[in-house]
Symmetry: D3
Subunit: 163 residues, 6 copies
Amino acid sequence: MKKDIIAVYPGSFDPLTNAHLDIISRAAKLFSVLIVAVAENPNKKHLFSMSERVSMIESSANIANVKVTFFTGLLADFFVSVQADVLIRGLRAVSDFEYEFQMALMNRNLNAKIETIFLMPDQAYTFLSSSMLKEIAMLGADIKDFVPHCVEEKLKEISISKK
Amino acid sequence: MKKDIIAVYPGSFDPLTNAHLDIISRAAKLFSVLIVAVAENPNKKHLFSMSERVSMIESSANIANVKVTFFTGLLADFFVSVQADVLIRGLRAVSDFEYEFQMALMNRNLNAKIETIFLMPDQAYTFLSSSMLKEIAMLGADIKDFVPHCVEEKLKEISISKK
Amino acid sequence: MKKDIIAVYPGSFDPLTNAHLDIISRAAKLFSVLIVAVAENPNKKHLFSMSERVSMIESSANIANVKVTFFTGLLADFFVSVQADVLIRGLRAVSDFEYEFQMALMNRNLNAKIETIFLMPDQAYTFLSSSMLKEIAMLGADIKDFVPHCVEEKLKEISISKK
Amino acid sequence: MKKDIIAVYPGSFDPLTNAHLDIISRAAKLFSVLIVAVAENPNKKHLFSMSERVSMIESSANIANVKVTFFTGLLADFFVSVQADVLIRGLRAVSDFEYEFQMALMNRNLNAKIETIFLMPDQAYTFLSSSMLKEIAMLGADIKDFVPHCVEEKLKEISISKK
Amino acid sequence: MKKDIIAVYPGSFDPLTNAHLDIISRAAKLFSVLIVAVAENPNKKHLFSMSERVSMIESSANIANVKVTFFTGLLADFFVSVQADVLIRGLRAVSDFEYEFQMALMNRNLNAKIETIFLMPDQAYTFLSSSMLKEIAMLGADIKDFVPHCVEEKLKEISISKK
Amino acid sequence: MKKDIIAVYPGSFDPLTNAHLDIISRAAKLFSVLIVAVAENPNKKHLFSMSERVSMIESSANIANVKVTFFTGLLADFFVSVQADVLIRGLRAVSDFEYEFQMALMNRNLNAKIETIFLMPDQAYTFLSSSMLKEIAMLGADIKDFVPHCVEEKLKEISISKK
C-alpha cells in the first residue's frame, strides 16, 4: 500500500541556510511531494524580498519532488488549499522546541487534520539560525560554510552596500 | 510518485497507554507500513512480559498497515533488519525532548540512515507516561481514561494480587 | 481561622484570552478578593487601549469577588498600594516558566512581602498566548474558541480595517 | 467575604529540608489550614520511617494553622478525604517544573477539583533537594545550613552508624 | 608551568549590573588578563553610549588585571586581534543557556580556537538582567542593590528626564 | 602576571568517553595543572573498578600537566585538600545544565571558594553519555568512534562475558 503523502515545509527562509536545506533533503526522501512554502507576513520586516527568498530556494534545492511556493494569510488555510497531509518543522534545541510545540498545538486547534512532524537537522547545524546568520554576515563574518553559494553572494552585496 | 515508506515505532510499552495508541494512529496515516517494535532489554525490569506487551498492542491497535513485533539487541540493528526508512517517537514535553534528541543523535551516529521524526500526541495526553500510570494504578487510581480496556484489566489484576 | 487574602493578577491582557479567564476563575475561588490589574507601560505598544482592555475583562469576568483596574509604574508599588498578599501568574510551559521565575525573584527582591504563586490553566490552553492570538487573528483565523465573544468582535473589526 | 481554604502540601519529606520549611511558612500565611501530608509509598525506599518523617516536621514547623499527617494510597483520594481546596508544590528549577507540571495535570485528570499552585522557595534554596542532601550528608558534609537542627542530628547518627 | 592566559568577557553592558561585576571579579582571579569588551553593534539601540558604558565599567571594576575596551565588528575577529585564549560568559538560567550555547557553537565554527567557558554569578543575581533592570528603573524602582553606584545615578538622571 | 591555577575535573568516568577526553584536552590548555579526579562513591554501582577507571584515563589522556587520581568522600573536601582553584564540568545540553547548576550551587554553598566553570565538548559529542554508551555497548553496538581504544576493548570483554 504505497502512500501519496503531501508535506509542507513552511518558514520565512530569510534567508535559506544549510540547516533548512538539510531538512528539505531529509523530508523529500520520506514523502511523495514536499512543498517548501515561504511565508509572506506583511507585519514582519524581511531582509530579502519574497521573490528573492523563493528563488534562492529554487536554485539551491534542486530535488525532483520538491516544489517551492509562497503563501500569504494563515498557514492553516494554505495547508488545506494544497491538500497537504503533514507539516514539517526542523528542531534544533529546547528554545526551538517550546515555540514549535506551541505553534503545532495552535495549528492543530485551528484544524485537527494538521499533523506536524519534527525532523532533526545534521548535528553540525545545531547553532545555525537565519537571524544569527544575518547578524554575523552584516558584521563581516565568512559564512560560506553555513549557506548555499547564492545566499552567500546576496548577503555579501547587502553587507557591502551598508558600509 | 507514491512512496513506500516503512516506519518503526520502538518502545517498552510497559504497558501501552492511550498516548502510545494516539501516536500509532497518527503515524499509520503517514507511512505505508508501521512496525510497532517492543524492546526487550534484559537489563530492565518490566511489569509485563514481552508476550503480554505485544498482545496488548495487537488487540488495541487494530489498523491494517500496523504490525507489532519485538526486538532484542540494538534498535539500530533492528531498524536495518526490517529495511525501515524512518523511526517514530512521540514528544510530550521538554524532559522528553532532551532524552529523545540524545537518542536520535546516538542512533544517527550509529547509522546515518536512521532518520528520526517526532510526532506530538493529543494535548489530552501531555501528562501521561507509562511509569506514572503504573504508579497510580498500583495505588488504586481509576485509569480507564488513560489506557485501552485490556490494559486496564491487566493492571487491576496485578494491583489486587499485590494487596 | 478564616483568612481575608487579597490577590493581584497583573498582565497586559492585550487582549484577554480564554487562558486568562480560566486563571481568573481559578484564583477567584481561592482568595477573598482578586484584583485583575492591567499594566499600562508607556514603553510598550499595545493593540488595544487601556480602557478597552479593562472593559473587555469587566464584561467577560463577571465574578463577585473579582475587581478590574489598571496601574502605571512599578507592579511592586501597586501591590503595596492595594495591600495585596499574593501575586497570581499563569504558567503554561517552560519558556513561560523561566521568564516568570525571573520576574517573581525580581519582585521578591524589590519587596520581600511579594509572594508569587503560579496556577496552571486548563490543558486546552497550553498553546494560547496573546501575541500568537493577535498574529493569527490579523491573518484571518477563526478565533472564537480562544477568546471571549467581545474580544472576538474587537479583533475582527481591527482585522477588517487593516485590509 | 473571608475564605476558609484548606491547603495540602504533600511530599516524601525524606527528610525535611529548610526549603520545605520555607514553603510551609509561605503557604501557611495564605490559607486557613495547611495540611503537610507525608506520603507513604510502599514501593519506594525511604531513609527515615514514616513516624520519624512526621515528627521531624512537627517539631520544626510549629505554626498554629499547620497540621502534619501522613497518607497511603492515592494523593487524589487523600485530597478529597480531607476536603482540601488546593494542593501546594514548591518549584525550584526547570527539572522540577516539568515533573511537577506532569503530576499536576495527572491529578487534575484524576479529579478536576484538584487545583495545584506552585510557590517559589527562597532563592537561597535553589540548589537544595532531599536526595542531594542525603548524598552529601552520607559523605560527611556539614549540613547545618540546609536542614532544621533535629534533622541534622538524625542524619549524623545514620552517617556515623554506616561507617 | 605557570600559564599566561588572556580572557575576553564580551557584552553590551547596557548598563553594567552587579551580576556582570560578579562575573568580572570571578574571571579575574582565574586568568592572567581579563579584557572586558563592550560590543558596539550599530544595528542595536542602546540606552547608554559606548563611552558611557566603558567608563561605568572602568570606574566600577577597579581590578589590576582587568582592562576595559570596546569592539566593533565580529567578536571572533576581536578575539584574534587581542590574542585571547578564552571567552567568558555568565550563565544564570536555562533561557540564558540555550542562547549562550548557540553563540558559543557559532563562534567555535567561525574559529575553532575560540574556547568559551561559562561562569555562574552569585545566586543572589539569578533574576538580574540589564533589560529587566532598565525596565524597572524607568518605572521608578529603587535599584541600588542591583547596580554599582555610578550606574544608579546615570539611570536616575534618565528616568527623571523622561518624565 | 602569570597565574598558577589548579583545576579539578571530577566525575565517575565509568567509563571514560571521547567527550570526557575532549574536555580534558580543552581544560589542560587553560590551566597550569588539571587533576582528573575519579569519584569513588560506595553507594553507587559502577561497571568498572576504581583502578580500571583511573588507568583508562591515564593511558588515554597523556598530557604533561594532567594528573589522574581518585577521591572518596565529599568533592568539596577533596577540592580543598589539593588546593584547587577551579572545578571543571562539561555541559552538553539542558538536562545536563540543570543538574550541573544545582551541583555547582551546592558546592559553592559548602565552600564559597569552589568556583565551577563549564566547558562545551565538541559538537560531535552532544549525544554521548557514559550511561547511554554502556547500554548500547552491552547490546553489541560498535562504539569505536565514541571511546578511546582501551575502553572499547574493556567494554567488549564485558559484553562477551555476559552472553
